[in-house]
């Protein structure tokens, strides 16, 4: 499947919208609104409110996440903000500060 990669030296300040997978190795500030999967790699920094189907965080996210399917916080990720999703997974070693809402 086609997907978009925001490379490690890239900084996006604004709004990303669309309909395909997004891999973030760099920095995104502002707002992300997708109907697909987002992966924040260990070097990735997201300072944005995020709307998506699924998100997997290995890096750093500051902002609220709203996922229609699943949000997963992996080991060594850093997340500050509220998460709202039907399925939320937090791995051992993840650091997280915020509210969790699984009611949908």
């Amino acid at each position: 499947m086609a997907h978009t990669v925001i490379g490690s030296s890239i900084v996006v300040d604004g709004e990303i919208t669309g309909d395909e997978d997004l891999v973030i190795l760099g920095t995104v500030k502002g707002r992300i609104s997708l109907r697909e999967n987002i992966i924040v790699e260990p070097t990735g920094v997201v300072e944005a409110s995020v709307e998506t189907a699924t998100i997997t965080v290995n890096g750093s996210v500051t902002g609220d996440i709203q996922a229609t399917e699943r949000a997963e916080l992996k080991t060594d990720c850093r997340m500050v903000g509220d998460i709202r999703a039907p399925r939320i997974l937090i791995a051992d070693g993840a650091s997280f500060k915020g509210n969790v809402d699984m009611d949908g």
């Binding site: 997907h3 990669v5 490379g7 490690s8 890239i10 300040d13 604004g14 395909e20």
Partner: protein
């Protein structure tokens, strides 16, 4: 799902993605989708056939197969390919416009003018 990418994977804005705002970076970028705003890149920018940029571009070099509406400044070269549509002013030491490209705007290259002409422009 896209997974297992390392930092050497190319930076791509895919066909279903739209970015509104600024994009700054120091690596090569391929745009198949849409960017509105500004792009500042210390690297090579490729605007693919279906890519649309409504943005001012400040890059090392750029190759346009798709559509650019906005001014382009490149420190090395601007290459407007067959089938591309560019609307704006372009500035670079090397500007290449291929047969079959649609371009509307002004071109500025580093041109060494004849002395007499250079003087008359200056005064």
């Amino acid at each position: 799902m896209a997974q297992g990418l390392d930092s050497s994977s190319p930076c791509v804005v895919g066909p279903q993605i739209s970015i509104r705002g600024t994009l700054v970076g120091e690596e090569d970028l391929v745009v198949e989708g849409r960017i509105e705003g500004a792009v500042t890149l210390a690297g090579h920018l490729t605007v693919a056939q279906n890519g649309v940029l409504e943005a001012n571009l400040d890059v090392d070099s750029v190759e346009v197969w798709g559509e650019v509406v906005g001014d382009i400044v490149a420190s090395r070269s601007i290459n407007i390919q067959k089938g591309a549509r560019v609307h704006g002013n372009v500035t670079a030491p090397r500007v290449i416009i291929q047969d079959g490209a649609a371009f509307h705007g002004s071109v500025e290259m580093e041109v060494k003018l004849p002395d007499a002409l250079a003087k008359s422009i200056r005064h």
